[in-house]
Subunit: 320 residues, 2 copies
């Protein structure tokens, strides 16, 4: 019997039970077992034997790192986005990639709706108001803004975007979208570019992938089109927005508010946002529920097992 595949596991400490789960079928090496030296150096003895990487965090896997793994056949990510993986280089080297598929879609959609209501109805600001004793001292809290009847433009109508749309319909929201291509058999109005999506909506929700085409897709021009009462919800990636410009637009009142789960340089968040009541900040937690994490652990294991049994991946990333 041949030796079982060697998997390099990059995981948060709380996912220690993955080691046990994987050990039935794989030999494993975790990145935190290695020294504090840069990864390729610390792995030198083993690098050439590694056949799969399980990336349960945001470990950047670029061409340089890949060059140290001559036997690598598979990368399994537990994120939906794969902007931290050099996909063209993987394709060139014949390395397969799997991602989180739709394991998080419901939770991310729930969080997007939660952030939207939280911004419009100022739920965290209201909570601060009560906890600080201001309700007693200063009387009624400021008025919120209605969700019913709002025009909501979704940027990226994939699995997550479609679930957001479905959730917002019974609130009486009017849904439209922008994506790479217009989708057939979708009842929502399509806008071919982001400026017109922003100009014709009260809210834009970002849930598309980050890549060279979408980096800073929400720039100053888009925010000016969205206007002074307009709201941005971002559950995609921080890099979708020109963050520096967004901070200016929020401070200057060019846009009305934002609900942000993601940022350009996480965990760093621009401090100018900390004083704003029209902004709701979330620490990249849109998919962070215990239910989702159980799902993803199982999905990652299933992808690894399928691959090494010569079965198709459960949630493959397609190379464009």
């Amino acid at each position: 019997m041949s030796e079982s595949p060697l998997v390099l596991v990059h995981r948060p400490p709380t996912f220690d039970y993955m080691d046990e789960l994987l050990s039935h079928n794989f030999r494993i090496l975790t990145t935190h077992q290695t020294s504090s030296a840069p990864l390729p150096v610390s792995l030198s003895r083993h690098a050439s034997s590694i056949t799969a990487v399980l990336n349960m965090g945001m470990l950047k896997i670029d061409a340089d790192l890949l060059s140290h793994f001559p036997s690598l056949q598979l990368i399994v990510c537990t994120s939906v986005g794969t902007d931290h993986i050099d996909l063209p280089e993987c394709k060139r080297r014949g390395i397969s990639v799997a991602n989180a598929g739709e394991a998080y879609s419901e939770d991310v959609a729930d969080c997007a709706v939660g952030l939207l209501i939280s911004v419009l109805r100022q739920i965290p600001a209201a909570d601060r108001y009560v906890r600080s004793g201001k309700w007693v001292k200063s009387g009624d809290f400021q008025l919120g803004s209605k969700l019913s009847g709002k025009r909501v433009g979704i940027l990226g109508l994939g699995s997550i975007g479609s679930l957001i749309a479905k959730r917002l319909e019974p609130f009486g929201c009017i849904i439209s979208y922008n994506s790479r291509r217009q989708k057939q058999s979708i009842p929502y109005l399509y806008y071919p570019d982001v400026v017109s999506l922003a100009a014709n909506n009260d809210v834009i929700i970002l849930c598309c992938a980050l890549n060279d085409q979408t980096r800073h897709i929400v720039n100053r021009e888009v925010m000016e089109a969205l206007g002074k009462n307009g709201i941005i919800i971002n559950v995609g990636r921080g890099g979708l927005i020109d963050e520096k410009e967004m901070v200016k637009c929020l401070v200057e009142g060019v846009i009305g508010g934002a609900g942000l789960d993601v940022f350009e340089k996480e965990p760093e968040v621009p401090e100018e946002l900390f004083g704003l009541d029209n902004v709701v900040l979330s620490p990249h937690a849109a998919m962070e529920t215990s239910g989702s994490l159980d799902n993803i652990a199982q999905l990652a294991l299933s992808n690894l097992k399928a691959f090494f049994s010569n079965q198709p991946l459960i949630s493959p990333v397609r190379f464009d």
Copy 2:
């Protein structure tokens, strides 16, 4: 031509435009124009001429106050709940009462869903985590709890409760309800009492009227039935819950969390809640959007005009 009806207006200072709106058809007297003496004393010269009261706040209208208004024919409230009005005494005196009808229903339903997602996904706590710099210092935020698949029991399936149910369905929630009577042609499971509603659900949402039958309807027994992961959302009235017991249950972990827009002695909120991350506090703001307040001002005016033109009230309160 007879003199136009004299209306006593009790309103927040921000509603000063109501005076102008009303003045086309009515003579008005505002409670804040009067001295700091108790209302009947300060009104003594006019009390006997007042034919209608427009109560845009929580002015308590009890039998004693009513005894000073011998000409009173109509009370228009801008709240949905009328627990601050002595309805049996109004009935006895032949005084008609109008309330907010369904003017706030959408906003209150939106807020209930917003509070529920905020509690499960800990949105205000996450926002505090980011603003305090803990994301950088302490790493990932604690996991939230999934909304999809949750069993949600609605206490009071009227206008607001039905809109909450409709909104939660596409999140994959399983809806059931308790109300005075089982409703025909409603697809949701009915529980004839609140203990069984709590025992069979992960979340209970309170949106029924407060009256002698419903005061403290959520008591210790109900909270124990709901259990340690159970969530209470209250957008009805503070008095629906035994607040003292609820605080104990939250502190002791008998229930899992709460999203509260209303309290027993507003604006006072039990200070024990201020340190809890599993609680979201809101200053009785569920209906507080600019859209709702425009609606309610118009509705109040329409009720007054209808009544004094011998037309039926738009949103009458029925005496049981």
